[in-house]
């Protein structure tokens, strides 16, 4: 079955917005459960179907649905599901619940909602660069539209109730995806990450919960969801991100001053391999792209834009290659196709 959004390029890849070279994207996710149904660990199939029906009806009534695409995971192949994962539209949890799992996405890919994940509703907004305000505005808006029509599980003391107490209260997870090769190369990253964990924030790798840190990309998010208002939580993350970007830019300046030749060599070797390789693994791409991204950000490489680098990052991923080929590839073919796709991006520039 064809993926309805296959030809749409997600808006958050655009590479526009504040500091889009260092902060690749910002994301806010809100968890909500509907009153009158058990949570995901105890819920029955009929309940999940009903939840989906009710929510979609609301979106239609409120005239939100026409501008959004509805994707039922049930009809998709595994690689099509992984495609959605790579586009940051679904999570692994939703994938494991494919039978009644649905995701609704708007045209720009900037607002989406998962139905029947760990919580009944997971509303999310992703914007390019450092832009938590837009993310919150869109997420809150969609949550309010649904909240006007359906009743959320809410406790006067504990706030919005979620399946896991780590989300209770605001149900809010705000995060920024940030590129920190400077801090890694100057070996300050340990100190920085330790500092982050001490102020109610956590860090993870590129693809969310439980992923490895690849390509010097870190996802920084709030750990606390109760005891502070949504705005306070977002403000806190915002200020910390500002400081992080500052630290990173300083680290890069120092690197360039003290080891300019080394950096330039690293950057251009990476560029060379990506431009010419005939077969390449995704790990290697992540590492090389990190150097190239640094090069673009420091204006060493003028031929590529941040938006192109972002596209290379996503379109070289496994499932994106499978979808382009129309089938699940073996790893040899995938590595070849990956190199081909990357060469074409570099040539077009």
């Amino acid at each position: 079955m064809a993926l309805p959004i296959k030809d749409n390029v997600p808006g958050w890849l655009e590479g526009i917005g504040d500091h889009a070279d260092v902060a690749m994207s910002s994301r806010i996710r809100l968890a909500r459960n509907l009153k009158g149904y058990p949570f995901s660990s105890k819920i029955r199939l009929e309940d999940e179907k009903q939840i989906r029906e009710e929510v979609l009806k609301v979106l239609e009534r409120e005239k939100v649905l026409p501008s959004m695409t509805k994707i039922d995971l049930k009809g998709l192949t595994l690689y099509e599901c992984n495609y959605l994962l790579e586009e940051h539209l679904i999570s692994n949890d939703l994938l494991s619940r494919r039978k009644v799992a649905t995701v609704v996405v708007d045209q720009s890919g900037q607002i989406s909602m998962m139905i029947n994940e760990e919580d009944h509703l997971r509303i999310q907004s992703i914007f390019s660069g450092f832009n938590l305000e837009s993310c919150w505005r869109e997420t809150e808006n969609l949550a309010d539209i649904i909240g006007r029509n359906l009743e959320y599980e809410f406790h006067p003391k504990f706030g919005y109730l979620t399946a896991c107490p780590t989300n209770t209260g605001t149900g809010l997870r705000a995060s920024v995806l940030i590129h920190l090769p400077g801090l890694v190369l100057t070996k300050e990253i340990q100190k920085v990450l330790r500092g982050i964990s001490q102020i109610g924030l956590t860090f993870r790798g590129l693809y969310g919960e439980g992923s490895e840190v690849l390509g010097n990309f870190f996802q920084i998010s709030n750990q606390i969801t109760i005891g502070k208002s949504e705005n306070e939580l977002i403000e806190h993350l915002s200020r910390t991100t500002d400081q992080l970007i500052e630290h990173e830019k300083n680290a890069r300046a120092i690197l360039f001053k003290d080891a300019g030749h080394y950096i330039q060599d690293k950057v251009w070797r990476a560029y060379g391999i990506l431009e010419h390789a005939r077969t390449i693994t995704s790990e290697e791409v992540m590492n090389l792209l990190s150097a190239v991204r640094l090069g673009v950000s420091m204006k060493l490489i003028k031929k590529l834009s941040v938006s192109t680098i972002n596209r290379v990052l996503i379109y070289s991923q496994d499932a994106h290659l499978d979808v382009a080929a129309g089938k699940s590839l073996n790893s040899t073919d995938r590595d070849i196709n990956r190199a081909t796709v990357i060469r074409s991006f570099f040539k077009d520039n």
């Binding site: 692994n92 006067p156 919005y160 896991c164 780590t166 809010l172 860090f203 790798g205 439980g210 606390i224």
Partner: protein, 173 residues
Amino acid sequence: MKCENCKKNDATIHFTQMKDDKVVSYSLCHECAEKFGMKGAKHDSKQQLAFTPDSKSEVLSELLQSKGPDNNDKCPACHSTLDSIKDNGRLGCGQCYFTFENQIDVLLRRIQASSFHVGKRTSKLDDRVYKDQIEVRKLKKKLSDAVKKENYEEAACLRDEIISIEKRLEVSK
């Protein structure tokens, strides 16, 4: 490479974690990863990892530490017990937050620094309705206890009280 834990199987799950002031890497096989509470580990992809510092099993096993008077309680709505909550790594339903209110309060204050929500509230509810709803849930719990203890007179009184509050809630809608 072999799993760092059992040293028998091939390691297919790799993750990194902050330990003291270092970034530490671990490599485990699928079975050992499951044993450490990493449900749903995507073991066929080199890039996906399963472990996070705030792993849900760890977090919820905290719940079992507090030995309150309701340790053997069952949630009247979804029949969850503290044991089943720990096994699932999740609460069963909204009513669980009322049934196990004390333990959850302690847990939240431990893992989240506060158990009191100060952010957005649902727009339909005002103070009176909040209080009524809490009251109804409390009474329903008392009712199920009374029925269990075969205290039918008390149960009947409670049921009447519940009906009258629910009528009031209906009117206020």
